[in-house]
Symmetry: C2
Subunit: 97 residues, 2 copies
Amino acid sequence: MTLRLLRYFVAVAEELHLARAADRLGIEQSPVSRAMRDLERLLGVSLFDRSARQTRLTWAGQVLLGEARRVLATVDQAVQATKETLHNPPRTLDVMR
Amino acid sequence: MTLRLLRYFVAVAEELHLARAADRLGIEQSPVSRAMRDLERLLGVSLFDRSARQTRLTWAGQVLLGEARRVLATVDQAVQATKETLHNPPRTLDVMR
DNA sequence: TAGCCTTACGGCATACGTAAGTATA
DNA sequence: TATACTTACGTATGCCGTAAGGCTA
């Protein structure tokens, strides 16, 4: 699993349209389509219902959308918390030992 | 940020030794060293204290270790929860609309 | 046939391994 | 000098864009 696949998936799941998702991601449709295929293969589940004219989420897709948002939020927090150590030094001197 | 950098970092932070971390990851020392350098540049903070003979975590490194573990746990849960939708179908039929 | 997604292919960027280099105790 | 981390360089893998292909209303 990679964050790239999760980021692409959230964009597609929210837009329900590959071209718009690709626009939002600043890339072309093609890599987005391939990424969704790769993600489905990786997880072994269908994330989208492509039978209809419009793209829709399967149940697995709905579950992953919530989970992926949590992952990305956790990543953002990890980056922020680490950067903020510059301004919030440890209270005691021996925490680094 | 990538999961690869976080996975490598957790290995190094837990082993406090690049060769052992590399062994655990199934790769060579060299890419691990480069990854840690890249991660520090990305975050703009020092994660390791390299002045001593042994590798030690800075305060920022200790904070990131906890955060990175949370991220990786969240990812595992995301994958599991999505895969389990195959055995736990939605209770109602209209959740996919 | 118009709109949307997918596949093929070539090029670029990223990541690895080997091996040489640097530093410290 | 032994141990551990870093840097240089060539190769392999991964990801992207362009363009062609397929499908459905």
